[in-house]
């Protein structure tokens, strides 16, 4: 699925948060959105997913809007758990689509196994640990086999083991054809995961490049400073 932003601007209380942004995403690869705090990374993801309205500009999708939204999924930085069991959380997106019960059961058990929560299916999801919640949120997003998966800092505050497990799940999803767009503050993770990098600064796309080229030698001074760990004002 291709997503195209044209002259996209988001304003809140008169202040410009994002834009103008022109961006076209089409390949089933892993796009990492980098940038300092307040650069507009989360807003960009929310706009692409359609949960944030544009103040001006346009988001064009290659499929009809309703269909495209059903084929996208979003994982939030703080995982949102339904106040239900792990099983019910995994089943929820499929129930919304009216999927048959035997298929739901099969998929739920498959994904619980994959994220290591097979023994915790009847546990109350809000009582899981932070890492378990994030893995559950990711599995709940992937259970519909989305065309596009947006992730907003999915590994923030997670330990190395949980981070590695999530990265493995993401790479598997990408190999099965899911296009991944993800923000992160973890440059190590960006190097491990990225096919391409979108570097945001002051709400605008400052640089966009193939990951290898970006990490080897960014075009702009600001991106070089960011990679060095300098503070960008």
């Amino acid at each position: 699925m291709s997503l195209t932003l044209s002259q996209a601007v988001v304003k809140r209380r008169g202040k410009r948060i994002l834009g103008p942004v022109d961006l076209h995403l089409s390949t089933a690869e892993i796009t990492i959105v980098l940038g300092p705090n307040g650069a507009g990374k989360t807003t960009l993801l929310r706009v692409l997913h359609g949960v944030e309205r544009l103040s001006s500009g346009e988001l064009a999708l290659s499929k009809p809007d309703a269909q495209a939204r059903q084929e996208q999924a979003y994982v939030f930085q703080s995982p949102i758990m339904l106040r239900r069991t792990v099983r019910a959380n995994l089943a929820y997106p499929l129930e919304l689509l009216g999927t048959a019960r035997p298929i739901i059961k099969q998929k739920v058990e498959h994904w619980a196994e994959r994220i290591g929560l097979a023994d915790a299916l009847e546990r109350h999801a809000p009582r899981l640990s932070g890492g378990e919640k994030q893995k559950l949120a990711l599995a709940r997003a992937l259970i519909r086999s989305p065309d596009v998966l947006f992730l907003d800092e999915p590994c923030a505050n997670l330990d190395g083991r949980s981070t590695r497990e999530i990265e493995t799940l993401l790479k598997d999803a990408q190999l099965r054809g899911t296009q991944i767009v993800m923000t992160t503050h973890d440059l190590g993770q960006a190097r491990r995961m990225a096919s391409e990098v979108v570097f945001l600064l002051y709400g605008k796309v400052h640089e966009r490049a193939d990951a290898k080229a970006f990490f080897a030698k960014p075009d702009t001074q600001e991106a070089q400073a960011f990679l060095k760990g300098d503070i960008i004002e």
Binding site: H49, V51, A66, R69, Q70, Q72, A73, Y74, F76, I80, L82, R83, R84, T85, Y92, P93, L96, E122, R123, H124
Partner: protein, 234 residues
């Protein structure tokens, strides 16, 4: 202190001997309050949830009015319902005054804002928590409301029980519209008021203890049936 002991003793004997009058007014109290609770919940639970997720022009005003209505004086409600149901009133033709139906109407008016307001508060918090997820999953409005009602059922149960507590303990309105007629509209609270007026404090206290026990029993029964405290269910 003697009155309290005498009241406890009276309550004990009323219950042990299954006093016919006590059973009758207890069952009538339950009938009136539970009927009012069902009707009020059918109105208030969906309305409170709708108010939590719907944005419209006078929403804040509507919430403020709803909260203000929680403090409706029962005597005033009773008076208004009395005037509406009296023979010269607009609904006099139905002949409901001094019947349990009139008492149910008055209690519905008193407890609906309370249940709706507690529902709104609980659903507003849950909606804030779920908003991004439900939007991102492209849920329909109906799916959102059903999800909130299901996941917020514990809070909704609390709202309903708060309404029941207010209804079962209410006296002012049902005294006016029911008339406290023996074997017709007498309930526990109006009987307590009557016995206190007559100076029979022991019996009044006895009835009071029965009323408290009844309210507790209904709460415990509902919690037990809905398994609210069991891990994994909530």
């Amino acid at each position: 202190m003697n009155d309290i002991w005498a009241g406890l003793e009276a309550a004990f004997w009323l219950i042990v001997t299954l006093d016919a009058d006590l059973v009758e007014i207890t069952l009538r109290s339950l009938q009136v309050s539970l009927s009012a609770l069902v009707v009020a919940s059918l109105i208030a639970l969906p309305f409170g949830t709708w108010l939590a997720i719907r944005r419209f022009r006078y929403r804040r005003t509507a919430i403020a009015v709803l909260n203000a209505l929680m403090g409706l004086p029962p005597v005033v409600v009773g008076l208004i319902v009395y005037l509406l149901l009296s023979r010269s009133g607009p609904f006099g033709v139905f002949g409901l005054l001094f019947t349990p139906s009139a008492m149910i109407v008055a209690q519905v008016i008193i407890i609906t804002p309370l249940i709706a307001s507690i529902t709104h508060q609980a659903m507003r918090e849950l909606w804030a928590e779920y908003h991004d997820l439900l939007i991102s999953l492209s849920t329909t409005k109906r799916q959102r409301i059903m999800t909130l009602i299901w996941d917020g059922r514990r809070a909704l149960l609390t709202a309903a029980l708060a309404g029941f507590g207010r209804a079962i303990g209410e006296v002012g309105a049902i005294m006016i519209v029911g008339g406290n007629i023996d074997h017709a509209t007498r309930v526990l609270t109006t009987a307590i008021a009557l016995e206190t007026g007559k100076g029979d404090f022991a019996l009044a206290l006895g009835l009071g203890f029965v009323l408290i026990a009844l309210a507790l029993a209904v709460n415990i029964l509902i919690h037990t049936l809905s398994r609210t405290e069991q891990e994994g269910r909530w």
